[in-house]
């Protein structure tokens, strides 16, 4: 238990290694010192780090940062946009070498910025899952591409069948596409329909904005899997999960 003092009626959180209650944090260029701070301050609450999109291409001291996180027991993976950048350039084999070069044990397969035949996407998942643990992402970064719910479900299911460990519901850093409307509002019907078919422990919901985090936690509980959390929002997110911020204060109390 990490709690600093005793409070009754606080929902129980899962412990590491978590299958649910999972927090994926997006690092979009943190310094080594900021990474060390995150480990010290939030290490227990961070389940995996994504080096956002292709920031790993330009970040100096990349190897040091990956090693720093991984030696603290926090796995790291490279954003899906980077996978796509390699694929669209016919450099998939180079991508596999990058994963090995940096000692990465996780990878993301996505098609948010490219058009990828879904069978081919599943083939990439199959191939990569022989090398690393695969997270696959469903949903476009293009606000104009609206995918109907039955298709979200079909894609999530076939990607899990192809070997994905978990599927990610796309939202971008800004939280305004995919699962969300332009305004940042959650597409509630979509989420509810997905949950009738896909087990909730297999899904990571990207929810960078506080209102989105609150929405998922109210719907699915303290131990929903959430992603694209900014480093400085990890501590606040824990309090939302525990009903100890105004937004979910009543919600959890009424359950005891």
């Amino acid at each position: 238990m990490l709690e600093n003092y005793a409070l009754s009626k606080v929902p129980e959180r899962t412990k590491k290694p978590r299958q649910t209650g999972f927090t994926m944090v997006m690092d979009k260029g943190s310094s080594l010192r900021e990474a060390a701070d995150l480990i010290e301050t939030c290490g227990e609450y961070v389940d995996i780090i994504k080096l956002g999109w292709a920031t790993s291409y330009v970040f100096p001291k990349l190897k040091e940062k990956i090693d720093l996180y991984q030696s603290a027991g926090i796995p790291v993976y490279l954003g899906g946009t980077l996978f796509e950048a390699f694929v669209i350039r016919d450099q998939f084999e180079d991508y596999r070498k990058v994963l090995d070069k940096y000692g990465l044990k996780y990878a993301e397969v996505s098609d948010g910025s490219i058009t990828l035949d879904h069978d081919r996407k599943c083939e990439y998942i199959r191939q990569l899952s022989g090398q690393v643990t695969v997270l696959s992402e469903v949903g476009s970064k293009d606000a104009a591409k609206i995918i109907p719910p039955y298709k979200w479900i079909e894609q999530m299911q076939t990607e899990l069948d192809a070997g994905a460990w978990k599927v990610i519901g796309e939202a971008r850093e800004g939280g305004n596409v995919g699962l969300f409307r332009d305004s940042g509002e959650v597409r509630q019907g979509l989420v509810e329909e997905i949950l009738t078919k896909i087990p909730f422990e297999r899904i990571i919901w990207e929810a960078p904005q506080k209102t989105q985090q609150v929405w998922f936690i109210k719907l699915l509980g303290a131990n929903v899997n959430l992603g694209n959390i900014a480093p400085q929002e990890v501590i606040p997110l824990e309090t939302i999960r525990l009903g100890l911020r105004g937004d979910t204060f009543d919600h959890f109390l009424s359950q005891f």
Copy 2:
């Protein structure tokens, strides 16, 4: 004087320990290193630190952080939501022990997330003011609960009478409730009416957004008490107080 070079026609700022011109900073999970940076960079400008809502429950190295701030001469208190979390669980005595355990000299009494009979709220203020210096907060975190001005005044006055050192006008981290409309706009009539009855040195106005800070500074001068300031906004806020940012540049010059 901390100013690095001489400029004429700059409003005079109060010095520590301040009764007016007070800046309350919200720490919502800063690392120890960030806390040390704040002390080094803004120590002279920060009058008190609030560990936002219940972030202290989950923050590791809590004792070290509190000691770090306090040994630099900056008092620390725990967010009002935490007080409310203890009260609603009938754990008020436990809360008092937490204050002692961490060597805290200040505490907040609020009812932003719970319904608390106002006499009982004043009783808590009375009890706690025998142990620590009390800040009490008026205003709901619930955007739907509109409190009329005469009631703000009545509550502020009775809370000061009950022993509160200062009263805080609620705005949350986002600055969109209490003193502010949904849009973040200030409820100007409310503020002006409050000021006809309550001395301005006894009030801390929560003003997390720049436009709100500017509004209060233009209305009440360089040395208005402001709260919920993010650590990275302390230096910018000082320049706004001094008429050295575009927003208040003309306002202060025209007074010389």
Copy 3:
């Protein structure tokens, strides 16, 4: 080359010292440690640092911070609002001494918050360019002051003629005035008309918001000069310049 691995079809970036592809970063009160982090993490990508508006007046350890950046080969200048604060107080000679005292090699001349006869503005540029390298800024911080395109061009040209090294298109920290509408949207016609007359390497476009950076990069390429970039956005900006973030992913690929 700083890239961590090989990717084909990535636009070529200019190298330091850059005349184009220039990134100006706004420091509005970073701690010494954050400044050191920026140098370590983004040193290759940061061409110049602006200490925003008059933050240098209140920032402790100012000399240390300027020396830290400059000894890493990154020049520093003080925000234009500070120049204006000295000028309006008839303290221009004091301003020149401040530049010398801190060993600054660059300065900004602007009239965003004061009304300055344009001939007098050019005279300041002439005088200061005998002492340091001058950046001059065109555009008002006042959202109500709309300057027509022909006047932007005329002012930019005469300021370059007076000795300015580069001219800056004003946007403030928030990106909602000058080049931009209230909403943050770019005044496209204005930018296009300016570019028919002023060479693009002589202009730094203030573009603090991501959508603005994307807009300029799509219009003017990877190596457009951009300013008012927040320290934590330098790495993300590099990926946008290189077509390695969703926003410009297709744009650059279609050019190969």
